[in-house]
Each structure stands twice: as C-alpha cells, then as structure tokens.
Amino acid sequence: MYIYDDIDQQLVDERVAQFRDQTRRFIEGQLAEDDFRALRLRNGLYVQRYAPMLRIAIPYGLLSSKQLRKLADVARRYDRGYGHFSTRQNLQLNWPKLAEVPELLAELATVQMHAIQTSGNCVRNITADHFAGVARDEIVDSFVWCELIRQWSTFHPEFNYLPRKFKIAVNGAVADRAATFVHDIGLHALNDSEGEVGFRVIVGGGLGRTPVVGHVIREFLPWPHLLTYLDAILRVYNRHGRRDNIHKARIKILVKERGVDRFRDEVDAEWAQLKGGPATVTAEEIRRIDGRFTRPQYEQLQDVKVPDTKTPFHAWLKRNVHAHQQPGYAAVTVSLKKTGVPPGDVTSDQMERIAELADHYSFAELRVTHEQNLVLADVRQTELHGLWLELRALGLATPNIGLLTNIIACPGGDFCSLANTKSIPVAEAIQRRFDDLDYLHDIGELDLNISGCMNACGHHHVGHIGILGVDKNGEEWYQVEIGGNQGEIRPGAPASLGKVIGPSFARADVPNVIERLIETYLELRDSENERFVDVVHRAGVEPFKKYVYANLDQRPANRRAALAA
C-alpha cells in the first residue's frame, strides 16, 4: 500500500468537507440539479434506477485488509450489506442515501479512501496489471507509476472539465494484463537498449459504442517526461476534443478525425513547450513514492512441487494460482464468479472473512482485478492448501480463472439506469450450462464478457466471446461477437475487437448459442494449446456463424448425447 503523508490526507479530508458543503447547498436548494450533477459525479455519486450508486475509488486496485474491513462496514451500515467490484477495479455501493454520503466519505477518509474522480468528465481511477510487484515478467512495479499519475490527475486544475471521461491504464510487465490498447491512454513500461525505463504510449483506444484499438503515438517515452507528455496529450484533447456530441467526445474520435500523425504532431508541438519544465519527474520523487509503499517481508523459501492429483484442489492450483517472483510464494485469485452470484459481488461478511485471510496469508493486502476478482498476491506455497480450504468454505474457490465461467458482466438492467437489458441472469444461465468442470477445463482459456447496453461496461468488445444486450421494441435481445481480445497476454495475439456473428438472439437462447460456439471450436482446434480466440483468428467468423445458426434449436441434452454417440 502507498501510505498517505499529511498532505495526501489533508486533500482527501478537504474533498469530504467540500462535498459535504455541496450536498448541503443542493438539499437546501442553493445549487441547481444540473450543477450538482456535475459535482456529485466527479465524486462518484450517480442517481440510479432505484437509488443512488456510489463508486468508491480503489486506486490501481490495491487494498489493505483494514480498508476492506471498512468497506464491509460501510456497505453494511449505509447499504444492504454487499458491494460490487467493477471492471475499473473500484467498488460500487448501490443503495446509499444522498444525505448520508458525506458521512460515508468521511469514514472512508479515515482509512485513506475516497470517491474522487470515479465518475465525471475527468481523469478516472488509474488501472494497472494486478500482478504488479510479483509477476515474473515484470519490467517495473506499475503501482509506483500509477501513484505518481494518481497524484498528478487528482484535482488537476486544467483537466477537471474535459470533453468526456478519461481512462488511463499502466502495465508494468511484458504481458499486457491491463488492456492498454483499449484505454484513452495506455502506458506500457519497457526498457531501452541501455536498460533505461520508459513507456510505450498508446492513445485513443476504447470500448463503448465506438470501439477502437489504440494507436502507439510514441514507442519509448523516457520516464522523466511522463507527466509533461500526459499534460501535452490532455491539453490537446481538452482544447480540441469535440463537445458538441457526447457520443463523439472521447479522445478516440479526436485521434480518428485528425489522423494519428497529425494528432501526434500536435501533442509533440505542445510537449516541446513543456518538456524539461518544472513538471519533469525527478528520481527523488520516484524514490519517495516507492518508499511510501509497504512491502512484504518475504522469508527465504524454496519452490514447492505439488504432484498432479486430479483433485479439486489441483484444479484450483492450475487455474487460480499464479507464479511469483519470490521462490516459495504464489499469487492467488479469489474467484468472485461462483454460479448464482452476480459477477464481482461480495457481501460484507465475505469481505470481512477475506480481510482475515489477507492478514493471515498475504501480508494484509489484496488487489482487485479488472476481471472483477480479488488477488492475494503473496501467499506461501506451503499454505496454499489451507487457504484453499478456507476459500472453498466461503464459496470463493471456484477454479475458473481464465475460463468461460469467469464472466465479466456489468450490473445491467437490474441496477443501472443506462442499461437496455439485464446481464446478470444471462451470466448465470451460461454458468449453469457450463457447470461441468471437466468440460470447462477442456474448453480451456476463454474470456466471456457481457454488457447490458452499448456503453460496454462489461467490455464485451474484447471478450473472446462478447455478448451485448440490445433493446428491440421493448424486448431484450442479445448480440454475440467473437474474436475480441483484451490485450497481448500471449505473445502474438494482440488486442482485437470482436466481430458480430449475425442477428441477435432471445435471452433463453444465449446458453445454446454459447454451446454451439464451443462445439465449433472443439471441432476446429489443432490442439488444446490453441485457444478459442486463436481459432477465431485463424479460421474466421464464418464456420462459427454457419454452425450456430444451423443448429440453434437443438436441446442441449440431446445435443450432448448425439455428440457422445
């Protein structure tokens, strides 16, 4: 954890006081509804279908057990005893009362938490690869750079009223686990030939109704120039980004309309004036931030070999346990994707139990992933079995990380006022259809993402299979895409957007459609090593489309029997 100094703390406390005053003025009628809307949004407060929704920031997804306990506590007292982890690594509460929100925020401030810029047309929470600091392919610890950017973006006086929201992701390892090509700005750390650290700068990616894979506008930005270069990009966007049409206001449209080369030239012209100025990052500052992070005190251990016993424990080891830099340690994903539970939802009781597990097994810290799971990053390998038993008892050990049932889904029409359709029941129906673990493991790695509307909060464009809910004359229909990919996690498979396979389906048909897609894949794959998405990229959409529409109406039970015969 980055530990606040007195200035960091004071700024958060002052934001609480400011928001308390803004809320008071609104309730007393001194602040118009539209104006308060702009102010409350940049503090994470939406007015939703049934009640307000508060989005609490979890900067780059890093949490202490103490903070998680506080979240459990506020979710119980101000909400209905549960929260929802989002794809931006934040936590959403769905039922707080407006008048009580300032008090809730004051409580969060006591554990160095806030809701600053979790919504609104400003720079949002910075996201990062969730194995920062422990991944074997690490280049830099992205959390340090995220904290630098968090401070730069917090109440940036020039960029608080941008044309539209602005999302930045930082990836510090070789594999891109932060989806840097589908962000407004993606920063991918790398070393130059002299071993100096810098960042590949990717601009203009994004999902939403106009999905775009971002463009590299600078192959190597030396780290001291990070903030002046960000200032230059943001200034060009702030001045020239479209403000006449909300659907054309993201930076991706500006980059597209101007062309990448012209956009880069404008950024460079701006940067030429800022480069080397007072905002140039110093080595001293990087050391200071690095030094304010708590670090695990690892013991000198040896790696432990666990024989493949074909037991449920082994299935969990294979899917939910990840390699660690430190011998004798492992990172563990706590699956929030149990069938029957909305993806990313946790109860206050579960949060408290997870906090205890973090204290006992993982140096009192944990991370939230953009796939809406939690990670205990520093677990002794000898304690994995004990941890598994405890997680299993809590329903948090589903061995499905990277598999089809590890579904990313937005809250959908059950909660969100933007959504056209529900997403949670669709996720559940698919999870029920694929409840056979052996079958699931045989299918192998597959990202399945669901969005309840074209705003794409469920990242359906970058699911290997993506499902989008669409409204047709008041009825809920679902469009299916295949071939999307969130980023180059495997070498040679870069970020890509899915392609729609054809006309949309009724909700009841969605599990059948997924099953037909999987059957096509199993038929076409060269080996178990060729993933679903690899087959789509090799063979194209056509064979999947043909098979799905020709075989849609067969009942799954009959279908499986027929295949077995």
Partner: protein
Amino acid sequence: MPTLIKDQRIVEQPSPPELVLEPTDELAVLADRIGTLNVIAVNFPKYGDGRGYSIARLLRERYGYQGELRAVGVVARDHLQQMAQCGFDAFQLREGEDVQDALRAFGDFSEAYQSSAAQPVPLFRRRVGR
C-alpha cells in the same frame, strides 16, 4: 449586473475587457497583441466547458500575459479555486451566485499536486525530504 470579484473583494466599477476570448479562439495569432493588453476575459459558455482553463494557462505561462485575466460566462462558486490555479485573477460570477460564499471557495483546498500558473513548481518538488 453580475458581480465581479478580484483580490477577495467585490469590484464596484469594473472596466470592460479589451479582448474577450471564446473557447475555440487560437492564441498564436494574438501573440503580439497579448502583451499590450490590460484586461482579457475568457468566456465559459457552459458549466462543464473546460477549455478556458487551458486558455488561461497558455496566456500566463506561454505568452507571459501579466494583466487582469477575467473569467466570464458560467462562472460558479465551485469553479473558482481551479480557475485561480490556472491563472485567472478576476471572476465575473454568473447571476444568482452567493458572493460571500464564493469568496470562501478559494480556500477549499490547501494544496495542489500539479504545476499550474499560480504555482509552477509541482508539489513533488516542494515536498522533498518529507
């Protein structure tokens, strides 16, 4: 008449601006003129239109403008401190704003992380040794 505040006080007889900049105006063509002016206004046509903040910083930091820089248009209490950080020193409040409350807005935050017109040295260069 909307109230103009400057230096924490109400200005009773404000002088009209010599130049009013709109969000889309290019500054480079005005570069030679900027140094000769004493009052420049920057218009904020909407509550959430943030282009004027960049214009202010450019006028102060790039073109070295030293005169009065006045925010006009939809200028509300909750904008003021950030406008001041970006280089505005005069604020023509929109109709209906509570002037006394607006005067308190400049103290909402005691520090800022960033380099800005009002404080070019970012916090990280000032917090060395902490």
